[in-house]
Symmetry: C2
Subunit: 314 residues, 2 copies
């Protein structure tokens, strides 16, 4: 079925690089409308060209400042940029409030830099899916480099790292002997490490610790460790070297988006997020109330719900 005329027009404008169209399209996606979805379908053949860079790390590592500097490096090469700042906090109202601060101020008036903040759509929302949709939109719109900045350390970051071609893990000295910050899964997802605030005491020790930890894991193999770059995002020291390391890692690894395995993960995730939309809430409530009063165990209830979902297919 052909897309409806207004969608077609918007898709054409996005594909042509029109920024106002891009902003409108991003808003449509955020609202999870049918129009947004059909727009993405129309634009999908144009995707697969951008370099997608995930930037993650624990709170306080200076990720936004680092991304700001990397945007500068891209713009110096006349590459257009998209930035997706992911903030998983906002279903809990206060996060959204605090998240409203303007990020990356100095690029605000640069048409070559398109910045969006993303929040989760809630419990069943699928932050990774929404982030992927927006990244695909930016890719189709011809953005050459897309940064996905994530706050915090945890499963969200791991999920989102799977959307990126290259993941930059940002760490800072002075987290003391607390290994927690670097152990929550993020060591393994790094293609490049950035040790920020590298003028602080302990920077060299942190570099050594990262290099040592890399000799331990399952990725450990001669010549395959992720490079560690010392930077000072605040004044730009070390940024050219970091940017070169990112580009080198991308050249070595290739565009992840072209791999079947990557799409297996993405489709599976997407399916998992969407399939429950078919479950009537009354049915769910009925089973839940039986479990809550211990009239049925939860495992039998899940089996029952699954059978009902499949039986009631449209």
């Amino acid at each position: 079925m052909p897309a409806s005329p207004p969608t077609r027009t918007l898709a054409d404008s996005v594909a042509a690089g029109d920024e106002r169209a891009l902003a409108r399209a991003a808003t449509l996606l955020e609202a999870v409308t049918a129009e947004g979805r059909s727009l993405l379908k129309a634009l999908f053949p144009l995707t697969g060209k951008a370099m997608i860079i995930g930037v993650t790390g624990p709170p306080g590592a200076g990720k936004s400042t680092l991304v700001d500097q990397l945007i500068g490096a891209c713009r110096a090469q006349s590459r257009s940029v998209g930035v997706i700042a992911v903030d998983p906090s906002s279903p809990y109202s206060r996060g959204a409030l605090l998240g409203d601060r303007i990020r990356m101020q100095r690029h605000h008036n640069d048409n070559g830099v398109f910045i969006r903040s993303m929040a989760t759509r809630g419990k069943l929302g699928g932050l990774a899916q929404a982030t992927l949709d927006l990244a695909l939109l930016l890719d189709a719109a011809g953005r050459s480099v897309i940064f996905i900045e994530t706050v915090g350390v945890g499963q969200d970051e791991i999920d989102i790292a799977q959307l990126a071609d290259i993941t930059v893990v940002t760490l800072v000295p002075g987290m003391g002997d607390d290994v927690q910050a670097v152990k929550a899964g993020i060591m393994e997802i790094a293609d490049v490490f950035a040790v920020n605030k590298s003028d602080l005491p302990g920077a060299d020790a942190l570099v050594q610790a990262i290099e040592f930890m890399q000799t331990l894991g399952e990725r450990a193999a001669p010549g395959h460790s992720a490079p560690v770059c010392k930077v000072k995002a605040i004044d730009g020291a070390g940024i050219p070297e970091l940017w070169a390391a990112i580009q080198k890692a991308f050249d070595a690894k290739g565009k992840q988006d072209a791999f079947t395995g990557v799409w297996e993960i993405r489709l599976r995730e997407h399916l998992r997020e969407t399939i429950l939309c078919d479950l009537p809430s009354e049915t769910l409530s009925l089973y839940a109330s039986r479990v809550a009063r211990r009239a049925e165990d939860p495992y039998s209830a899940v089996a029952g719900l699954k059978a009902e979902m499949l039986a009631s297919r449209k």
Copy 2:
């Protein structure tokens, strides 16, 4: 269908409070065996009695030490304890290595304290589901208080908080002006705040900041803010007051496990985790390869996969 005899025997032993049976049962659950599942079905009617306390907060907040002190408070009241230490890092090998340190050493030889570390089962594993299963087991085994300690800040913690009756958010002074640590969703899930290392400079300012933030959110209502307790977990200062605050919050809020709404979320989550088990991996691969080479868009692919799953129902 009645449970097979060995399972029945193990269930009886768990229900009778036998610790070796509990340890064996926990191992069965971790291995995700059919035996573990049928054990939980048999034990489910015995659940719903324990007080489940989630303890979360950013890396370095001293959560393990705090839990250790709270265990002491429970034992002083002769209440039996279960502890689930959740470490989401271990699919990425290094985390498991570091996670092997022995936690809560001083309770190691106390039969009234049962401690298990949990790791995610990987991408599709459902850490929250596995944690819930173990909590139900400990509940059925008659543990009076169950602590769920989570590392990090993010969606995992929010998911796991939904399993707890009471969530204690642990923060420490000296995170500077970085609001990230307290904004990633964890402010809203707190029933009680513990400001640990309260002898450090900035403790009072942190207490005030927490109290201020609570006046902003959607939960804000006179008389409904979560209490803020200053503690020093290292020497136990403030622990009796914290323990009293937790008990008071529990009395006010009630056992979450008895609410239909709580089970709606849990069942839905469980269903989401399990439903894709029916999808043949060849089918997924076929669709993924089409999308990877841009022969089909991902949204149409998901629709196609959904139709195939439903058509192939057993």
